[in-house]
Symmetry: C2
Subunit: 353 residues, 2 copies
């Protein structure tokens, strides 16, 4: 740490300073067993003195391992992306990897470009945290030859797949509402292109059919609170709606807001269930009943699988789904007692502010 170099010191500098060969320095730094204690000390002293730091680029070139994982996410700032990224980063750190993240738009072109950029950077493996249904085959072709984990997609898309069981998530939520006594459950779904969204929608539909309920038409949002609000205004004016399953908590906030503006009470008039259990879900008015998905833990698991895949390229199609849980809070209740008989008042818009 004493002298200032124009360039950073290299192994060779350390080697000269400690009177050994570069190879020995390399051995010391990678904890090779057969190094005499005295040389180890000499080398480490020189390392300290010169302020030497490993050059990962050079190592990556010769070993073919960059110790970097590529992560592809969609350019959104919603809760699931944030906590998934966090989990991936923590997992990567524990596994001795760093994360190279790129964002992409939800289009074939955008995805292709982003994957290429990761490949260019020489990552050791890729986590596709962008469940885009259409792109499966294209992406499979692009990522051929490099370990890849797909998140949330239906199993079998790529080498491996990690996620949360979406079938179960939507089923739990739907059943909860039915068990409260609702005749049926309406659904505000996420964008069709997202595999998670369509899996939830499918499972909601199946659950209703199995229970012998009428199947209401589906409304679609884009994960944003405002799209939830828009759809909430539509459903709120329909007196037959007593229970709504919203595909994400963020949209559910918008739905509850819309219902409140229409003068309806949640959950007395309408019950609302979200999915995700974002940090804010417990603090809305009323607190949101939702399905908890541990994105962070899922991210960590994805990294573990990917690292496994990197080290043993043999294994393919391993996949692991974790189970979501129902968190009952204040936004769900039995349907209004007088529901069948009551005259439905024409709802009016009303600001509660």
């Amino acid at each position: 740490m004493e002298r200032i170099f124009t360039r950073r010191p290299s192994m060779r500098d350390v080697a000269e300073a400690s009177g050994v060969s570069a190879q020995t320095v390399s051995r010391v730094l990678s904890d090779h067993r057969n190094v005499k204690e005295t040389t180890r000390e000499k080398v480490l002293a020189a390392v300290e003195k010169l302020g030497y730091r490993h050059n990962n680029t050079a190592r990556a070139l010769v070993t073919g391992r960059s110790k970097t994982l590529g992560v592809l996410t969609l350019a959104t700032k919603n809760y699931s992306r944030a906590s998934l990224s966090l989990g991936i980063e923590l997992g990567a750190r524990d596994a001795g990897y760093t994360v190279n993240s790129v964002t992409s738009t939800m289009s074939l072109k955008g995805l292709t470009e982003s994957v290429s950029r990761l490949l260019l950077q020489g990552v050791d493996g890729i986590i596709l945290a962008s469940p885009f249904r259409e792109a499966a085959s294209t992406i499979r072709r692009l990522t051929a030859g490099i370990p890849t984990i797909t998140m949330g997609g239906s199993a079998g898309t790529c080498n491996g797949s990690v996620g949360i069981d979406q079938d179960q998530a939507a089923e739990l939520a739907t059943r909860h509402l039915l068990e409260l006594g609702h005749k049926t459950v309406w659904h505000i779904a996420g964008p069709r292109e997202w595999s998670d969204a369509s899996l939830r929608e499918e499972s909601w539909r199946r659950t209703l059919i199995e229970a012998g309920c009428l199947l209401p038409p589906v409304l679609y949002g884009d994960w944003s609170p405002s799209s939830g609000h828009r759809n909430g205004l539509i459903l709120g004016t329909n007196p037959k709606v007593t229970a709504i399953l919203v595909a994400s908590d963020e949209m559910a906030f918008g739905v509850i807001r819309a219902l409140t503006e229409l003068g309806l009470h949640v959950p007395k008039d309408v019950s609302v269930v979200g999915i995700d259990d974002i940090d804010l879900a417990a603090y809305s008015t009323p607190p949101l009943t939702t399905i908890r998905q541990s994105f962070e833990e899922t991210g960590r698991r994805a990294v573990q699988h990917l690292v496994g895949l990197i080290n043993k390229p043999g294994m393919t199609n391993l996949s692991s789904m974790s189970a979501p849980t129902l968190i009952v809070r204040g936004s769900t209740a039995p349907p209004p007692a007088d529901w069948a008989s009551k005259v439905c008042p024409k709802p009016h818009r009303q600001d509660c502010v």
Copy 2:
């Protein structure tokens, strides 16, 4: 794309396949001007045929430029981190860089370790998106010799600093409440270690003093909704509290929830202002008055500055702050008219569910 290689094709393979030297291939791929059109075509054809892709590792080794930016964030999943990361990633993409992100805990040890990891990876520059006051000098020493941008920190910490004017943010919010007629404004601050939090707190204090108001004691949260809830329960039982400035929207949600549970009405009994303008702020009940900060845009700007710094290492201490704006929604109103005279009822806890 026809044959399957055990290893990826290199420039040499392309060179042989197209009958030129490796250097010429390099020239073609980096758009060098002096290359004959016919050779360019030959080379590009071979590139296509072999499915060649640049090896950035090798290039980084020889050029000393990895075209990668390191980003250090704290291990949280709140809105500001998510949208800041997004802005940084988009900015980096536009500038032809990729992003290597590491998360860190809020401790000197954690930060040091994380910065080292970035340095090891050979990033061209670093964005410190973790405004940790204490660590300034340590980090300055660690990042000596590599372009670095500090976000949100007070100016002068490192080479450059980019952020949002926190003084202005807290002042806008406080003034808004005072102008509505509140005698004073209470404050739930963020953790003291965060420079953003302490800047906001300072500015709130200054604004109150300048306006000749009484200075209430500060409460501290940790950015989480639950810490807001905890502090909200405290302030809600104090009848003197009519206006609260909460250091983040997420905590503000917790505060509003707590006040509601105490049977208080927001904003009739108590006004609440948040900071950030998260996507959900417009959809709470009541919708949240807050200070908008464009994190995404700030992230992009940080990248631009950093890239400038990388290309012209001369410039130092450039810094740029953007202005926040006040967004008035439904959570603020004049104080209760009978405030001075009314007998304050002992608030009771009441679940609205």
